[in-house]
């Protein structure tokens, strides 16, 4: 297991490096945009622009900018020993290589947003809990009900129950989230507001100048439900077909023959073997939802990674885009490793 994990981590590191390279080239070589200009108001002059370019390192040649960025990102890096650098990078010194420079250990520094000057890491950390709660609950809801309905449909194959489950799930798959989101927000948050008590916008926290912050749990209902529709529909389909496949195997007949109850056969013998494709799908969806679900965040006014990324793209805010892309790539990598480990647990044959 350990060499396997080591190989995986090494691979992931290369993937991340590739991601940094591609995003950097996209931004600074292929795109004709000058981010410094986009941080200015409608009126400005050459000198203000020059100051801004200097502050954002945009006055340096592209290859140097890339090296500086990698140096900022790398946990093992070379940084100056001025007070400013120490504050900025918050590093642990390993040894000095000259009067001014040290080789240091630090947490990756994602820089500050061009637009807001806020640290990208704290922007991501601010947005992540929202995304995580939303994605986690949606995927939980989708998995539990998806597997349940999938099993029911498989067991009742060919009956009206099966047909209606399939019909509903096809409907769910074909409803794009921005359409379903607007519809659900309008119907339950606006038209039926007096009955549901819900609002068209559902931020997780409400603020009052005098009473401070206040958690609104009911805000979760509409976004979580909307977000779970598509994964739910797909999980139903996958569970159903995997179950049908497994239920026709010989060992299921054997299990019945040795006198096991239907409950034991279905839940213990059939389901466990049918779960592999479901896990792949659930983990893929979860990783995707964690990368942000822009439309849902936009429609319900929910603060999350998706909204931050799209905003940053619109304003060519390179550090934020890079930060969120790296963050997303990191999530996918972690999820992949987790899934590999989980396969081993669910299906011992894979361990080898």
């Amino acid at each position: 297991m350990l060499p396997f994990l080591f190989r995986k981590v090494l691979n992931s590191f290369l993937v991340l490096l590739g991601v940094v390279g591609i995003v950097f080239v996209l931004f600074f070589v292929l795109l004709p945009a000058d981010p410094a200009r986009l941080t200015m108001g409608q009126r400005s002059d050459a000198k203000s622009l020059e100051n801004i370019r200097k502050e954002l390192y945009l006055d340096k040649p592209v290859y140097l900018q890339f090296l500086f960025y990698l140096n900022d990102l790398s946990p093992l890096a070379i940084h100056g020993n001025t007070k400013e650098d120490i504050e900025k990078y918050d590093y642990t010194k390993l040894f000095s290589i000259s009067n001014q420079n040290n080789v240091v250990l630090k947490a990756p520094y994602l820089r500050r947003s061009y637009q807001s000057k806020k640290e990208v890491s704290s922007m991501l950390l601010d947005a992540f809990p929202g995304t995580f709660i939303l994605a986690g609950l949606a995927i939980f809801f989708a998995t539990v009900f998806g597997i349940l309905f999938g099993i029911i449909a498989a067991l009742k194959k060919g009956t009206w129950v099966d047909t209606s489950v399939i019909f509903t799930s096809v409907l769910g798959i074909s409803a794009p989230s921005f359409f379903a989101g607007i519809l659900i927000a309008y119907v339950f948050g606006f038209l039926l507001r007096n009955y549901t008590g819900l609002s068209i916008v559902s931020p997780m926290w409400d603020y009052d100048p005098f009473q401070g912050r206040h958690l609104i749990l009911k805000s979760l209902i509409l976004p979580v439900f909307t977000l779970s529709i598509r994964p739910l529909a797909i999980i139903v389909q996958i569970t159903r077909s995997a179950m049908l496949d497994v239920l026709s195997q010989d060992y299921i007949r054997t299990a019945y023959a040795k006198g096991l109850s239907k409950k034991a056969v279905v839940w213990k013998h059939a389901l466990r073997n049918a779960l592999n494709p479901v896990i792949t799908s659930v983990s893929g969806w979860f990783a995707e939802l964690l990368a942000g679900s822009f439309f849902i965040e936009y429609i319900f006014g929910w603060k999350g990674i998706g909204k931050i990324t799209v905003d940053a793209l619109n304003k060519f805010d390179f550090p934020v885009v890079m930060g969120s892309v790296l963050f997303t790539a990191f999530i996918f990598i972690v999820m992949n490793i987790l899934v590999d480990v989980m396969y081993g647990i669910v299906d011992p044959r894979i361990k080898k």
């Binding site: 004709p32 945009a33 000058d34 200009r37 986009l38 941080t39 200015m40 108001g41 409608q42 009126r43 400005s44 002059d45 050459a46 000198k47 203000s48 100051n51 801004i52 200097k54 502050e55 504050e87 500050r112 947003s113 637009q115 807001s116 000057k117 806020k118 601010d126 947005a127 606006f190 507001r193 008590g197 609002s199 068209i200 916008v201 931020p203 926290w205 409400d206 603020y207 009052d208 100048p209 005098f210 009473q211 401070g212 912050r213 206040h214 958690l215 609104i216 749990l217 009911k218 209902i221 936009y298 429609i299 006014g301 603060k303 909204k307 931050i308 905003d311 619109n314 304003k315 060519f316």
Partner: protein, 546 residues
């Protein structure tokens, strides 16, 4: 019911009971209940910073305006009035301003001050605040306000605690206008230095409201500054309301629905898809909405225009370099129709100069602009055709939000034989192209930085690059007049110079003014005494809530 039956019943409906309890708990944590008067509004664009040095757009400016004060400000009638400075005088050589500051102004309480109590604002704070804007380490996008205008050796001097002196390189009329901009807000050194770059989220000013909470991208809340120095005419302390809650929901349609539900007190402008539902073609509220909400309109110092790049070597669309074609574009479409049908009569067709209604210098009788004259346009187009042959299709760049006007103009001009196609660009890319002088024909908008026509005329001053001179217009007479007006001591003469310049812009036609904008504010019934102004600044100091 005996206990056993009861137990069975509970067992049977256990799950339903559970769901009911969960839902009940969820609904119990609903919104706040208190009797404080909180003004609620939404801003679609969001804010990136609360630091005055970065007050580069209207949204940030409004928050800075709420938290901070400047030395002077403009009232609703565009007259300069005292704010932190009680009075001021200009030296005989017109190069030095001396400001006499109020002595009863205190900063908001902050941990950076001894005992956390806000200290008195003094002249040194003004010196620090202005020098900070100029400091290249701040990298403020507003540094231009002082560049090449204030003295390079001793620009800002604190003579004593309540006297501040500003030294300029040469006489510069718009200086008071510049000092009224949010960039020139007064900040306390201790707090700025304590937070460094994160001062953006830990503001401390002297304004009518104090910062409370900010969940970025979601909401900002403010509390009333109990020790605010300004009083109303009856001697009562301002502000009247207890606090402000500004949310940042990005969808204008959602904002409208919330406003109609009574969850917002104020809405700036209206979503295009609801426009015709709420407004008549004359720009008034439809009967269904009268009495339910209020609408306030006011001339807004904002001009929408089409710009035409004037540099030969940079403009690939050579036809546009012909003055006749530029004039033909100006004559060839109906601005009144555009305003009536695409804007529900919000705004006034720009039939005078580039200086908008509401500014001294605007005079439609002295500066005659372009009106819809299709015959004249056709004649000009034909003359160019005769001289240069067929006209290749001209591309007009616009962003998605404003493509309707551009398409309207293009179709009217196409009918006159001038082929124009509209190309849609992402807003930031369009601005980028304009700044790099790569956009040869583009849609643009210009909001006055301060209520002085100079703020518009600077857009065509030959020594300015883009921005603000996006068209890269260069005209010797114009440049001479512009330099003259910056130093002209006589107000009447200055205005005459403004009009002379405006006439040159109209004659040379480096731009096509479309309309002079109007502010459109929708208010909840409970809002009283809300005053709309020409810079579209939301002023909540004197607002009352029923």
């Amino acid at each position: 019911m005996d206990p056993k039956q009861m137990h069975n019943c509970i067992q049977k409906y256990k799950s339903l009971l559970f769901i009911w309890i969960v839902l009940h708990t969820l609904c119990a944590c609903s919104s706040f209940h208190n009797d404080k008067k909180i003004f609620r509004l939404n801003q679609v664009q969001g804010v990136e910073s609360l630091d005055p040095a970065f007050a580069k757009n209207l949204n940030i400016m409004w928050h800075v305006h709420t938290l901070y004060n400047r030395l002077i400000e403009y009232d609703e009638n565009r007259q300069v009035r005292p704010s932190l400075a009680m009075s001021w005088e200009l030296s005989a050589d017109r190069k030095t301003y001396t400001f006499h500051l109020r002595s009863d102004v205190y900063f908001h309480d902050n941990d950076a001050f001894p005992n956390g109590k806000g200290r008195r604002m003094i002249a040194k704070d003004v010196v620090y605040s202005f020098a900070r804007i100029l400091d290249e380490k701040t990298a403020s996008p507003g540094a231009w306000i002082f560049h090449d205008r204030v003295d390079t050796i001793a620009p800002f001097i604190a003579i004593d605690d309540s006297t501040f002196q500003l030294n300029m390189l040469r006489p510069f009329n718009p200086m008071l206008g510049i000092l009224s901009m949010q960039y020139a807000s007064i900040v306390p050194q201790e707090v700025v230095e304590k937070w460094g770059k994160d001062f953006r989220a830990h503001p401390c000013g002297t304004g009518a409201f104090m910062f409370q909470d900010w969940e970025e991208g979601v909401v900002i809340t403010y509390r009333k500054n109990e020790h605010y120095w300004e009083k109303d005419s009856a001697g009562n302390s301002l502000p009247y309301i207890d606090g402000i809650k500004a949310t940042f929901i990005d969808s204008k349609a959602t904002e409208f629905l919330l406003f109609m539900q009574g969850d917002l007190d104020f809405m700036n402008g209206i979503d295009v898809s609801f426009k015709d539902q709420v407004l008549t073609k004359n720009g008034t509220l439809k009967p269904d909405f009268q009495g339910k909400i209020a609408l306030q309109k006011h001339a807004y110092l904002n001009v929408e225009y089409l710009g035409i790049l004037q540099i030969d070597s940079l403009n690939p669309q050579k036809t546009l370099l012909q003055k006749k074609i530029r004039q033909a574009i100006n004559y060839g479409f109906d601005r009144k129709k555009l305003v009536t049908y695409l804007r529900n009569n919000i705004g006034v067709a720009a039939n005078a100069g580039f200086i908008p209604i509401g500014l001294p210098g605007f005079d439609s009788s002295l500066v005659k602009g372009y009106t819809f004259q299709p015959e004249k346009a056709r004649q000009l187009i034909d003359e160019v055709k005769k001289e240069f042959g067929q006209i290749p299709t001209i591309t007009l760049l616009s962003n998605d939000n404003y493509s309707d006007r551009c398409n309207f103009i293009a179709s009217q001009l196409n009918a006159l034989g001038l082929p124009i196609q509209v190309e849609i660009m992402q807003p930031s890319l369009l601005r980028e192209q304009m700044s790099l002088s790569k956009a040869s024909f583009f849609w643009g908008t210009w909001i006055a930085d301060y209520p002085d026509a100079e703020s518009y005329l600077t857009m065509f001053y030959g020594k300015n690059t883009a921005p603000p001179n996006y068209t890269r217009f260069k005209n010797e007479t114009y440049d001479r007049l512009y330099e003259q007006c910056l130093e002209e001591a006589d107000e009447q003469k200055k205005i005459a110079l403004y009009q002379q310049m405006d006439r040159i812009i109209i004659e040379e036609a480096p731009c096509v003014p479309l309309f002079y904008d109007e502010v459109m504010h929708f208010l909840n019934k409970r809002v009283r005494n809300f005053k709309t102004n020409s810079l579209n600044m939301i002023e909540l100091k004197s607002v009352q809530l029923k």
